[in-house]
């Protein structure tokens, strides 16, 4: 074997494990997934027959799915705003002149270390036992009943938990961006007499634009894909009335997809919903890529 052949062989072997895993774990299931969404697949190995667009027609007539879609969009918008605002305020605090900055930075990140199943269970206890008891003791009508079992407030509980979990992570991104701003720029504005909020608005925020784009798309996809906390905190409940149909008032899309397949045994319809879910995420990333491209041109 010549040294050139040897080199090619080594490089082929270097690529092989990841290519193999990629094909087996992502490409093949992905192709199967698209195919199954056009069949009457029942999840077993049994042969399935083509049914055309039937699954897609059915899921768009499924009010539970439409409801899940809408509340997922609602949750995504609320959550993106809440996480970014809270994270930004904390990042301003922990980059100010306060003592113990580093301890706070490390501390605010802690909820992000822990999985959604564990966090969701803890907060279920807080919302269903602790808060109602506090509400009754202080005579606050809004708090004296569990916020989780009320269809009107359950969204608030999910945004709270996800903000608590995720804000520390986004804060770290903002802190890194703030530290990247040259001190002299802020000091110059200070000497010129610009008040604090003016400096934040006119200097810090524009110079952090890049990190806002990153955090915006991170929180966008993270919120849209939310699953673990949804399962452990509310499990989709409580049932509520929407457009004259009984729906699970906090069942976000990822949970709706899972339940369609495994709770209601409609595997092919669950798969069709997953394909729609995938397409929405593709749209998000197309927007992100074109957004980044347009900024590159500006610079």
């Amino acid at each position: 074997m010549t040294s050139k052949q040897k080199r090619k062989l080594t490089e082929g072997l270097f690529l092989a494990p990841t290519i193999l895993a990629f094909i087996v774990v992502q490409i093949i299931p992905f192709i199967y997934g698209i195919y199954y969404s056009f069949t009457d697949w029942a999840g077993t190995g049994a042969a399935s027959k083509m049914v055309g667009l039937e699954n897609y027609i059915k899921i768009f007539q499924d009010k539970g799915f439409l409801h899940s879609f809408l509340i997922t969009l609602e949750f995504t918008v609320l959550n993106v705003v809440a996480v970014n605002v809270v994270a930004f305020l904390i990042s301003l605090l922990v980059t100010s002149e306060i003592r113990g900055r580093n301890v706070y930075r490390a501390g605010f990140f802690v909820p992000n270390l822990i999985g959604g199943i564990v966090l969701g269970s803890i907060w279920q206890f807080i919302f269903s036992s602790i808060l109602p008891s506090v509400g009754q003791a202080l005579n606050i009508a809004g708090l004296s009943k569990s916020l989780i079992t009320n269809p009107k407030t359950v969204m608030f509980t999910m945004v709270t938990v996800n903000t608590w979990q995720y804000a520390g992570y986004i804060m770290l991104i903002f802190v890194a961006a703030i530290q990247g701003i040259p001190k002299s720029v802020m000091e110059a504005a200070e000497v010129d007499g610009a008040p604090y909020w003016r400096r934040v608005r006119s200097i810090q925020i524009p110079l952090m634009a890049n990190s806002f784009t990153i955090s915006l798309f991170l929180t966008l996809t993270n919120s849209f894909k939310m699953y673990d906390v949804n399962v452990a905190l509310t499990n989709g409940g409580p049932t509520g009335l929407w457009n004259k149909t009984i729906v699970n008032s906090s069942e976000l899309l990822a949970l709706n997809i899972y339940n369609t397949a495994f709770k209601y045994n409609k595997m092919a319809q669950g798969q069709a919903k997953a394909v729609i879910f995938f397409l929405v995420l593709v749209i998000f990333s197309v927007i992100q890529v074109s957004w980044n491209k347009s900024k590159e041109v500006e610079m």
Binding site: K6, T18, V25, R105, Y227, Q271
Partner: protein
Amino acid sequence: MAKKKEIPVERMAGSKPRPGRRLALEIVTLLLFILFMLPFVIVVLNSMRTNAEIINKPVGWPESAGNLFVNIKSVWENPTFNFLSALRDSVIITVISLAVISIFSAMAAWVLVRNKTRWSSLLFLMYVAAMVIPFQVVMFPLVTWFRDLGNFLHIPMLRSYQGIIFAYLGFGEAMSIFIFHGFIKGVPLELEEAADIDGCSRAGTFFRIVLPLLQPVFVTVLVLNGLWIWNDYLLPLLLLGAGGDIRTIPLAVAGFIGSFVKQWHLIMVSTLLAMLPIIILYIFAQKYIVQGMVDGSIK
């Protein structure tokens, strides 16, 4: 005279220490921090109480801290939870998956960077595109396909370590290759050429020269994948099954909570035990974890 001196000092505020403002910021930060840490305090306090205490008075101090050990003992010995076996399985799956993902992704990324062919660009582009694919769109076919594949190869892919580790390689490699790719582009080629001239084999060049240089980016890849795999719930649920022989910590917590509904003292202990390993790790490796998360988000 005195007045004239005061004016510039006033205007320079902020950069000079202003004890009043600093104290106010410190109080706000501290209060916010206490609010953020409150759920953890609630977990610890209620792990020290009995079920009767919690039901009678959801908010209150534990009557006897010694109950913590009683509660831990009953959770520890509970066969549904079986913490030690879940901890062992989580460690096995996370550590081996991380080793496999990081080494194989680094190898692949290096070959992709050093071979500028049409094929290598196409492959890299595919990995980048694959990062958009949500787990939901492949998860149902993955289970059926893994079952068939296992039967065909006579190597079980469901309810086995090898199956889930292989799946983590497939799902984790795209982002890891992307991160390594970005870093290796900045590694000077001269070092490798020198090794080549000295008669070092291609594989030797990678393992002796390139791999040691990748250390900073290894941190990023290990942290991002490690937190994801350690806390992941959906993939283990589908590939290992609820109540199977192999169970990760999130599976154990979910199973335990499902069978001990409203036994909050025991649920709190189970979440406490589940959080402990990652928090202990964070105390020792905080610098690396924070750095890894920030670098990973920006790349």
